[in-house]
């Protein structure tokens, strides 16, 4: 029951793999996306407001990567990884806190995901 790969789960992992592949493709295609501002961003710019807050990878440009398209792709990979890790961390914490605790025996290695 606790095995990650069973015949019943094959479809699940196939779907997850497919999703991951599409996600990677989307990140690869990101440099070709439109550079125009979106509706509210354009509205703000037209009114002379440029919301400038500090961030490690501001505007999806990774500091130190010269090529613009490589920079966008690296930023995309960072974002996908951060999103994935955050969701997994929250899920494992929620599982730990939940009433369904008894049905959950986390493998020893995965307990550390709580601190991530």
């Amino acid at each position: 029951m606790k095995r990650l790969f069973t015949r019943r789960k094959a479809g699940l992992w196939l779907l997850v793999g497919l999703g991951l592949a599409i996600t990677v493709l989307l990140v690869f295609a990101a440099p070709w996306a439109s550079k125009s501002p979106d509706s509210i961003e354009k509205f703000a710019r037209d009114k002379g407001i440029s919301g400038s807050s500090a961030a490690p990878v501001k505007d999806y440009k990774v500091p130190g990567v010269n090529s613009e398209s490589a920079s966008t792709r690296v930023a995309g990979i960072i974002g996908v990884a951060a999103t994935l890790l955050a969701v997994l961390a929250i899920s494992f914490v929620a599982l730990r806190l939940g009433k369904r605790k008894k049905s959950v025996d986390l493998p020893p290695g995965e307990g550390s995901a709580n601190e991530a």
């Binding site: 439109s34 550079k35 509210i40 961030a55 505007d59 899920s91 929620a94 599982l95 939940g98």
Partner: protein, 229 residues
Amino acid sequence: MHIPDGLLDFKTWGTAYGMSAGAVAYALYKVRDTLDEKKIPILGITAAFIFAAQLLNFPVAAGTSGHFLGAMLACVMLGPWAGFLVMVVVLTVQCLVFADGGFAALGANIFNMALIAGSLCYFMFAVTKSGLSRKFSERTSLLTSVAFFSWLSVVLAATAAAVEISISNIVKLPATAIFPPIIGTNCIIGIGEAVITTVVVAVVLQARPDLVHAYNGPPLGGAVKEEAA
């Protein structure tokens, strides 16, 4: 349609932060007792897909672009509260790591794009879907409702943003100068949203209907034709 900093005043972004924080607490409370261990990979991949899809801005009108939102996709796949939390993670990563959406405006962005476009639209979707399913098959009702409410989710999120900008009154403009440019473009963006969401849900429904939270049809109906039932 992330709101940057500088468009909202303190009372607006503060209130939005409060409401979003309350919604996050409620969502965590709901999810911790209902989260299925087996759904965690789907949770993660949905979040990653939404983040990546949001990178791809497509041109809408002269000098304006739009991108996929994914709030309805998250809620239809994962349920209204797990989907909400997935959107919160995506928006928070965008804000903190990439400065996409202002830090002060994060509460408002969560309110618009996760709570309104996600959970609220999901509940309207669920009511519509169950109404339709009295006359049509579960699959048809679900996909039709997904298409309409994913379009509406984008329009409503944009409307909420326009309301917040309007009541903040920092730009000192009448509502007629705020609402049309913001809502107009998003009516077009919503069409893209509806197409992407419906296609993704239809594909997953075909492969593994048990992974679509909103689907109440026959358990492993991938091989079983619904018409036979």
